[in-house]
């Protein structure tokens, strides 16, 4: 026995020495033919591991061990295997770091979250691709499991020494495969699968060689494909996860977060904010001597809390009112000897010593006293003396003294003047009726400003940030989904979607949409399917939007109540009124966005409904209707289209017909195809849009945005007569926003020329113009040329008259157009164009038309569709190439000639 062991040891050692760089694999490689007949092999002490397909536990264990290897490694303990594992964990930690640093760069919560998901997908793809695409088919076809792992015999207790733990891939190093760990039975089974002939010499060795060939080929193929497969699979997986799992999850999280925030904010909205720092500031400011400068300081302190210039002005005005100051100041200067002395000293201190010698202090004092004598004891801007002199007169006179001295002051004069001004500023005392009242009023101002700036500017912004915009990031998934659904509802193909991205052909989207709409209208089943699809997605988006709008309106209402919780004194009223108007504008903004978001989403349903309904109305021109339906959502679009159709729609009644069809209630059949409640929602939205469209500037609208709730708005609209809207609608189009618009209008559109041409026609025209333009300068004696000049000046904004023109602009322009008569229709439509250009900026109600919605959807969806297609094709190509390569695995070739010798059975 001993000799047998010795023989084994010797052989093993010899072999080990011969293959010098052989790793610690136990037992050493043997040629079975050498031993088998003499010595029975020892049971191998290494361990074979067959990992699960997804081996998370093993992976985590490996990572934990890698950390332990690192701790050992930095102390100088380790081996090649352990340091190799540190490489793996280093890469993983690096990827975590990358995900972390990318997630904290600017981006939406989705992109931030996706950095981690992406990193995880990358590692998952890296480990799964070879298993799935290489190992599994090879195992199925050839019986060789390339995922197999083994642990060499650690030599001693591995529980105590982590460095003894080595878990390696069985086929990792083709030169040192630990075949002893695999039983004969298993090897022969493998051989059967590979098709190694049964009756050959040394079959086990032959099978091992074939398996090695397969392992080398498989591993090489895995490496070659991994470079492409890992990013492809990872990005496809991450994309799918992002759409199907991460965004819905994030959306829910955001929603619940938003709900919490809402509850928290609505809870605080009803309490005004009293800030201790402000109270302290006011105390301090009032305790000191109240000069004009300190009033300015107080004003600055408060205005700095607000962002907008208009708000700052309102605050300044209020604080001026509190200090009873006029536009400049209510400050008073006491004119006593002290002041005269101070002035004299100031002059002397601010001139060079040489010049100071030439000046007599006493003379100066005398001169200043002389000036003061004319003004009595106190002088201020508000209280005029009998002689009509004021504070500024006094200051002027005092400075005049300096001018008399200018010969002596010479170059020092500006410096002295500056110093003197400062003396006056310091001397200017502010009158405060009662310090207590002032304090209270200032505290109230602080409270109003704090409450407003915190609640309306910061909190409201937090709430509304993008929440109502159809393309905002928090709604992005909902709207991206909607975009896809809308394109599907109209049966757009990928090719069409791709083409529609182009900006070169403006009419392409409309042409294709028109074609698709015709298809839907001609087939009832298709029509129903489309409406159902659109209804479902519209329900989704509008539910979300409505929920938010309801809350926002509640919030603004609460806030408004808080600001007006107690009656304000007359001085504060101005500010509170201003802030109320701001809130009313917020409300208007919320409603506008609500109308825009829902209006966009409902447009396709309403459009299809209108076209279907009108298909058996002979009085409606289908082409005109279609043009309007596909384009008419905003005032802008509507007017644009009307302009194009001005020859076809010539009367008001005709216009009304189209308005009624497009914005009328949904057909009962269509309403039935929609989810519950949606039809009503769509009808209400249409009514509101109709009102907005035809009645933007006046009447209903103003009330609509400031005082009424939604129900009231609707009833107001229902009570008003639609027939009137056309008239109003033209009126709207001449809303003049500012001076610049007017100038542009006057110049750019040749209005002026037309008017002056008219004026030159007859004298009576001048009189006509004179009355409604209120041109008092024009008398019967004025020549026509002069009159024309006066009119021109009036219209182009040269001089003060211009402002007056603006104040009543609408009616005046309307009169002007009446004056111009019917032959100026061209001109009129040019005005509309101007209006259009301005409306885009001024009106926040901008629902997209059907065409625009489709275009927008295309731009949103197409890049991703292209991406998925291309990545899909690339991935399919990779799979194909891999499959072809897999067929070559295990085949006979020049390296593996597969020559077997028949076994001699004797």
């Amino acid at each position: 026995m001993t000799s047998m062991i010795q023989a084994y040891v010797d052989i093993a050692r010899r072999r080990a020495q011969a293959t010098a760089s052989q790793p610690q694999v136990i037992p050493a490689v043997r040629n079975q033919d050498d031993f088998r007949t003499h010595v029975k092999a020892y049971k191998p002490l290494g361990k074979l591991i067959r990992p699960d397909f997804i081996d998370i536990r093993g992976g985590v264990k490996k990572d934990i061990n890698a950390i332990r290897y690192f701790i050992k490694g930095v102390q100088g303990e380790g081996n090649d295997y352990s340091t190799g594992r540190i490489n793996d964990i280093g890469i993983k930690l690096g990827s975590l770091g990358i995900a972390g640093v990318l997630a904290t760069t600017k981006g939406s919560p989705l992109t931030k979250g996706m950095e981690f998901v992406g990193a995880a997908c990358w590692f998952a793809a890296m480990s799964l691709w070879p298993k799935l695409a290489i190992h599994t088919p090879i195992k199925m076809a050839k019986g060789v499991d390339l995922s197999l792992e083994y642990e060499p015999y650690p030599g001693h207790n591995k529980e105590k020494d982590v460095l003894a733990v080595r878990r390696k891939n069985f086929f990792e190093d083709p030169q040192y495969i630990c075949w002893d760990l695999i039983s004969d039975e298993e090897i022969y089974k493998m051989g059967d699968k590979m098709g190694i002939p049964k009756n050959i010499k040394n079959r086990r060795k032959a099978i091992e060689n074939k398996a090695r060939q397969i392992a080398i080929q498989g591993n090489t193929l895995a490496l070659l494909t991994a470079g492409f497969a890992t990013p492809l699979v990872a990005s496809l997986a991450a994309d799918t996860l992002s759409r199907k799992a991460v965004s819905p999850l994030l959306e829910k999280l955001q929603e619940s977060k938003a709900d919490k925030l809402k509850q928290q904010l609505i809870g605080t909205a009803s309490t005004p904010i009293k800030n201790q720092a402000d109270i302290e500031f006011i105390e301090k400011a009032l305790s000191d001597k109240l000069t004009d400068n300190s009033r300015q300081e107080i004003t600055n302190y408060f205005t700095n809390k607000l962002g907008l210039e208009g708000d700052k002005k309102a605050v300044t005005k209020t604080i001026n009112a509190i200090f009873e100051a006029s536009n400049n100041s209510n400050a008073t200067i006491k004119l006593n000897d002290k002041l005269a002395e101070k002035l004299a000293d100031t002059v002397i201190q601010n001139v060079s010593s040489e010049r100071a010698k030439k000046l007599s202090r006493d003379n100066l004092i005398e001169a200043f006293k002389n000036v003061a004598q004319n003004y009595g004891e106190n002088v201020s801007e508000a209280t005029k003396t009998a002689t009509g002199t004021t504070l500024s007169d006094y200051i002027y006179d005092t400075k005049d003294v300096l001018n008399e001295l200018s010969g002596k002051l010479n170059k020092d004069l500006p410096k002295v003047e500056e110093a003197i001004t400062k003396v006056f500023d310091d001397a200017k005392m502010v009158n405060v009726a009662s310090p207590d009242t002032t304090k209270k009023q200032l505290q109230k101002v602080a409270e109003l400003i704090n409450t407003y700036s915190q609640r309306a500017e910061k909190d409201l912004d937090k709430l509304s940030r993008n929440a109502l915009r159809y393309d905002s990031s928090s709604n992005a998934r909902v709207w991206e989904n909607a975009s896809e659904e809308v394109l599907k509802a109209f049966n757009f193909s990928y090719g069409e979607i791709k083409k529609m991205q182009s900006r070169e052909d403006n009419k392409l989207v409309q042409r294709l949409l028109s074609q698709k709409t015709n298809n839907l209208l001609s087939d009832d089943a298709l029509f129903e399917k489309a409406i159902e699809r659109l209804g479902k997605v519209a329900q989704n988006t509008s539910t979300k939007t409505n929920k938010h709008v309801d809350f926002m309106l509640d919030y603004v209402d609460t806030l408004q109540k808080t600001l007006n919780s107690e009656p304000h004194s007359s001085v504060i009223k101005g500010l509170s009124h201003h802030l109320n108007i701001n809130l009313a504008n917020e409300r208007k903004d919320i409603l506008s966005r609500y109308l825009s978001a829902n209006g966009t989403m409902f447009a396709p349903i309403r459009g299809l409904n209108a076209l279907k309904k009108a298909s058996n109305m002979p009085e409606i021109n289908q082409d005109i209707l279609k043009t309007l339906v596909l384009n008419s959502q905003t005032v802008d679009n509507f007017i644009n289209k009307l302009e194009a159709l001005k020859d076809k729609i010539t009367t008001q009644a005709e216009f009304n017909k189209y308005v009624d069809v497009i914005f009328g209630p949904l057909d009962d059949n269509v309403a039935k195809m929609l989810p519950d409640g949606l039809a009503k929602e769509i009808n209400q939205n249409a009514e509101l849009l109709k009102a907005m469209l035809t009645n933007l500037s006046d009447g209903v609208n103003r009330k609509f945005c400031t005082q009424m709730n939604q129900e009231e708005i609707l009833s107001a609209i229902r009570n008003s007569k639609l027939e009137k809207y056309l008239d109003e609608y033209f009126d709207v189009s001449f809303r003049i926003r500012d001076d610049k618009n007017l100038e542009e209008m006057a110049y750019r559109n040749r209005l002026l020329d037309t008017i002056t041409d008219k004026v030159r026609e007859s004298r009576s025209k001048i009189d006509e113009l004179k009355t409604f333009l209120r041109l008092d300068d024009i008398t019967p004696e004025t020549s026509i040329d002069d009159a024309v000049n006066i009119i021109k000046r009036e219209l182009t904004g040269d001089g003060t008259l211009h402002r007056g023109f603006l104040e009543n602009g609408q009616n005046r322009i309307k009169n002007l157009l009446d004056f111009l008569g019917n032959d100026s229709k061209e001109l009129l439509f040019e005005r509309l164009n101007i209006y259009r250009a301005k409306t885009i900026k001024t009106s926040s109600v901008t629902p997209l038309s059907m065409t625009d919605f489709i275009k927008d959807s295309v731009l949103k969806v197409a890049p991703h569709k292209t991406w998925v297609r291309r990545i899909g094709i690339a991935f399919a190509a990779l799979c194909g190439i891999t499959a072809i390569a897999l067929t070559q695995i295990g085949q006979t070739n020049k390296f593996n000639p597969d020559i077997y010798h028949k076994r001699n059975n004797n």
Partner: protein, 379 residues
């Protein structure tokens, strides 16, 4: 049973007689099999050459691997593994570009910006990993004299029956051991360029000894331990000893383990920093074209020196480099440091601090641990 602890004893040098009479007195027996292995110089040119030779062999390795060459070994496998490492990054950037089409100009514009960032990020990733290695390799070579990337030519004998083994047809074995020669290899061998200190278990000590009468590797007939003697001084050995090799081999092994452990771990902060910088907008204010132009302009200077003057050109060069190169990088660092949210501040600062501090800690501990002075090695 001791059978299982049998180890290849490569580190034990035996001065026994081999069968080659001419080198019999000096070359150890187990060196015989590796007598074609050859140490390269550890200068940058040799290393670059070794890297290039390995790189150009990769297609050959791929071809052999795909056919299942029985002599395909683990080194070749690792060489092939470089393909997915680099292809992966390029493919990732290319995937970002895949949504692009000429029709959607707005999306294409955004896409270009994203692609630029991802491409920069990928480049930064590779650069950061190299930099992480350099922060360890440099000091180790400087302070301890050990070049962890010291290349050597490894010659492997092909097994019989391998079609690449032409020894049967052409039996003339050439003895030319020029490390750069490819054609003069014996016909039954293949070569590769590997690193002496790559493995801690199979460190190629044998290549570091100088043997008597080995005129090629030891023309000056230096003593056998000359390498270890030099290194021992760097390790802080105080007095000369005849067995410097046995004294510091353990230390070198420790050094290799520590260096590799740190190198791999340093990957994490360095790639985080690299990618963090790649995603700072300031970095893209670089004007490399201007930098290049002004540099070329400056290089051309002698020709025009009389007309324009050295000073102006130098100032132009300096401004171009500082504005087009140094300042954007500096600003990117600053904005990464400052962050725009608390989280980004924390991540950015951690990456910067870790990338500066960890290499210092790593090198300090390595030097401390491997110093013979600190660890009683001189006793």
């Amino acid at each position: 049973m001791i059978i299982n602890s049998v180890q290849p004893k490569t580190s034990i040098i035996k001065f026994t007689q081999g069968n080659n009479q001419s080198q019999a007195l000096s070359l150890p027996q187990d060196k015989e099999e590796k007598k074609h292995d050859k140490l390269w110089n550890s200068d940058i040119i040799s290393k670059t050459r070794a890297n290039i030779e390995n790189a150009v062999s990769i297609p050959e390795y791929v071809a052999h691997g795909l056919k299942g060459d029985p002599d395909f070994n683990f080194f070749e496998y690792l060489q092939v593994a470089k393909i997915p490492y680099y292809i992966g990054g390029i493919a990732l950037a290319a995937i970002a570009l895949a949504s692009r089409n000429g029709l959607n100009t707005h999306a294409a514009k955004q896409n270009t910006q994203m692609f630029k960032k991802i491409l920069t990020g990928v480049a930064m990733y590779y650069a950061s990993r190299e930099l992480a290695n350099a922060t360890i390799d440099g000091p180790v070579k400087w302070f301890r004299g050990i070049d962890l990337n010291h290349p050597y030519k490894k010659v492997t004998t092909l097994r019989e029956g391998n079609p690449l083994n032409r020894s049967e047809q052409n039996n003339q074995i050439s003895q030319n051991n020029d490390p750069n020669s490819k054609i003069n290899l014996p016909n039954n061998q293949k070569k590769s360029q590997q690193k002496v200190f790559e493995s801690v278990e199979f460190t190629r000590w044998d290549l570091l000894y100088k043997y008597k009468n080995d005129s090629e590797n030891n023309p000056k007939n230096e003593p056998v331990n000359v390498f270890f003697d030099k290194i021992a001084k760097k390790f802080g050995a105080e007095k000369y000893s005849t067995d410097s090799d046995s004294k510091i081999k353990g230390k070198i092994k420790e050094l290799i383990i520590m260096a590799n452990s740190w190198k791999y771990m340093l990957t994490a902060p360095f790639v985080t920093l690299g990618l963090g910088l790649a995603y700072q907008d300031d970095l893209y204010k670089m004007d490399l074209k201007n930098v290049l132009d002004s540099t070329l302009d400056f290089v051309k200077l002698p020709k025009y020196a009389r007309q324009t003057g050295l000073k102006d050109k130098f100032i132009a060069l300096k401004t171009a480099w500082s504005k087009g190169f140094a300042q954007p990088i500096g600003k990117a660092f600053v904005s990464l440091w400052k962050g725009h949210t608390l989280a980004s501040k924390i991540v950015g600062r951690s990456a910067i601090i870790a990338s500066v501090a960890l290499p210092i800690i790593a090198n300090a501990t390595m030097l401390h641990k491997t110093s013979l002075k600190n660890n009683g090695g001189n006793n």
